[in-house]
């Protein structure tokens, strides 16, 4: 069980695409310093994953549907929720100078 460190928080913030205010950082670092050792207690029960337990749920029972042509949601209905758009496209800030 490792000690949760500030540099670990920085690493997962980058992975998460998040930044925190000073107040949030203080609070979440304090919380995660307790939560991470707690959830890592899982190692007490399952020392290591057994081969038969590693595979994801069998998809053998998954419901497969016929490939039937249906009316699709129009792009306008989707684009109405875009935070910024130009005609029938999403717009984003300039990516190349």
């Amino acid at each position: 069980m490792e000690h949760f460190e500030e540099k670990e928080l920085d690493r997962i913030l980058r992975l998460s695409g998040l930044s925190l205010s000073e107040e949030e950082r203080e609070l979440l670092f304090s919380d995660l310093s307790r939560i991470v050792p707690y959830i890592e207690r899982i190692t007490e029960f399952a020392e290591k994953a057994e081969p038969e337990d590693k595979d994801p749920e069998s998809s053998g029972n998954a419901l497969l549907r016929e490939d039937v042509e249906e009316e699709c949601i129009l792009s306008e209905a989707i684009l109405q929720n875009a935070p910024a758009r130009l005609d029938s496209t999403f717009t984003v800030p300039r990516t190349v100078e």
């Binding site: 928080l9 979440l28 290591k48 929720n81 935070p83 800030p93």
Partner: protein, 502 residues
């Protein structure tokens, strides 16, 4: 008809009265909105309401009744749905700034089924952001209060749905349950909350939190309403490949439910006996313990075989749940990038700051905590130690349940360790909040059905939970209905006694 009388009916009784022309759907909707006008500003069960649409639908229902012919089972019944279930053309915010103005282009399958059954959807209910929370205090739109005691929380994350029904601002509601979000608010608000077998309710149109555990379920004033609504919303759906059809519940057999000969197991790990491990413990209140003891006595008196047994893996259920659900949440919520839909940080200058700025200002604190936990357990350094081991333990948990159900018909436990806490209390210690999910997360991990039913002599409601094997809804609702009948008879006796004494 007087408002009090209208609200003495269950959802399906109301539907019958409407079909039999004893009451008009418009009267029922008006009664609901009168209560909303009086209480909603204090309770805040709803994020959005549409009175005009509800009244129009009610008029249409009354016209159908006048025409006669075969009428759908919930015709004219005012219902509410949680704001993470999509209803075409009506905002679906998930309690988040990120989706504050999101208008879905389609309707969730389970919501469509309610509409097809004739229900009038009067509004979308408040919730902890993206379903992450146990108090409905983590909503961008502010907290919901418990109608039974507005100083207290209604539970979460389906707290708005629970409050809408408990406060007579809807006849029934749909919530969603990932780790207990239907059952725990039901317990706090004195309602029945049913989590059906995973997959039996389509997830199409349910905004994802943890896809391997998410499911919609009813919050109702009684077990028969829960069973009836469950029968309506369940069934395989081509739009959700994990969906599956299960047996329908025989509601008529619930009328005089008996537990004679039923084998009921109580896992010691979920019996309310607080056990400290590595300095972490779960404090179960005396009133919850007393309600469980009361139930055991009554079940045994009726002829049930009640037995305590050990299921040690349950002691690790909270760890499993928070590893796996956070991993799935961090993956599901990566879609919120400020580009395709939803909120965008107005100050973003480039693509990187657009992404980070949108997520950092669009998500609330609890959601950020879960995303960080998820990315921690999924990162290369911790994937085998945490995620793989939790996945392995989950399989072992499922096998332990299989073994338990070879000996018992249903399992019994409290739904939550205490009655509804005061507002502000449950936000103080995130880890302690997570540990308090111990009673509800095992069924979520195993994908098995569980129902919370109010039971006990306490002033604030206590919920007891029956858990069954996959497709075991009939058995758990039979046991819950038995306690419900007993509770109703007890209240009748008390009322009579009170009158006599007065």
């Amino acid at each position: 008809m007087k408002r009090e009388e209208i609200f003495s009916f269950s959802a399906f009784e109301l539907a019958r009265k409407i079909r039999e022309k004893q009451i008009r759907a418009q009267e029922a909707v008006e009664a609901v909105f009168q209560n909303i006008d009086e209480h909603e500003s204090n309770i805040h069960a709803y994020i959005s309401l549409d009175r005009e649409a509800a009244m129009n639908e009610a008029r249409h229902c009354d016209e159908l009744v006048q025409k006669g012919g075969e009428l759908p089972p919930l015709l004219g019944v005012p219902m509410a749905v949680k704001d993470n279930l999509l209803l075409k053309g009506r905002k679906a915010t998930c309690g988040s700034r990120m989706l504050e103005n999101y208008i879905p282009p389609f309707t969730a399958t389970c919501v469509q089924k309610l509409q097809d059954a004739g229900a009038i959807l009067i509004g979308k209910t408040n919730m902890d952001e993206f379903g992450m929370g146990i108090s409905t205090e983590h909503s961008f739109f502010g907290p919901t209060r418990n109608p039974l005691d507005p100083a207290r929380v209604p539970g979460g994350s389906s707290g708005g749905s629970a409050a809408s029904v408990s406060g007579n601002m809807a006849f029934a509601a749909l919530g969603t349950d990932t780790g207990g979000s239907v059952r725990q608010p039901a317990a706090y608000c004195g309602l029945v909350g049913l989590r059906p077998t995973y997959g039996t309710v389509s997830r199409h149109g349910l905004v994802a939190f943890a896809s391997s555990m998410d499911i919609a379920g009813p919050l109702t004033r009684g077990t028969r309403d829960a069973a009836g609504i469950c029968n309506i919303v369940t069934g395989a759906d081509p739009k959700d490949q994990t969906s599956i059809s299960g047996p329908k519940i025989d509601i008529s057999s619930l009328e005089q439910a008996t537990v004679k000969g039923m084998r009921i197991g109580i896992p010691r790990e979920l019996s309310g006996e607080s056990e400290s491990r590595d300095g972490f413990s779960l404090a179960v209140s005396e009133e919850v313990k007393a309600s469980l003891e009361d139930a055991v006595r009554i079940l045994e008196e009726e002829g049930a075989q009640v037995e305590f047994f050990d299921m040690p893996i349950l002691s690790y259920a909270v760890e499993m749940y928070y590893i796996l659900s956070s991993a799935e949440a961090s993956s599901n919520l990566s879609r919120f990038d400020g580009i395709r839909y939803g909120y965008r940080d107005p100050d973003a200058k480039d693509l990187a700051s657009l992404y980070t700025g949108t997520r950092s200002t669009g998500f609330g604190l609890e959601v950020k905590r879960r995303i960080l936990m998820g990315n921690y357990v999924l990162s290369t350094e911790h994937f085998d130690d945490c995620y793989r081991r939790a996945e392995s333990a989950r399989k072992k948990l499922c096998r332990s349940f299989d073994e338990a159900f070879s000996r018992y018909d249903v399992l019994l436990s409290p739904t939550a360790p205490q009655v509804a806490p005061l507002l502000g209390e449950s936000g103080k210690d995130a880890l302690q909040n997570y540990i308090s999910d111990l009673f509800t997360v095992p069924a979520s991990l195993a994908g098995i059905p569980a129902v919370s039913v109010p039971f006990g002599k306490t002033s604030l409601p206590v919920g007891l939970q029956f858990t069954g094997p996959r497709f075991g809804e009939q058995a758990i609702l039979t046991a819950a209905r038995f306690l419900e009948i007993h509770q109703e008879e007890r209240k009748e006796k008390e009322a009579k006694g009170g009158t006599e004494n007065a």
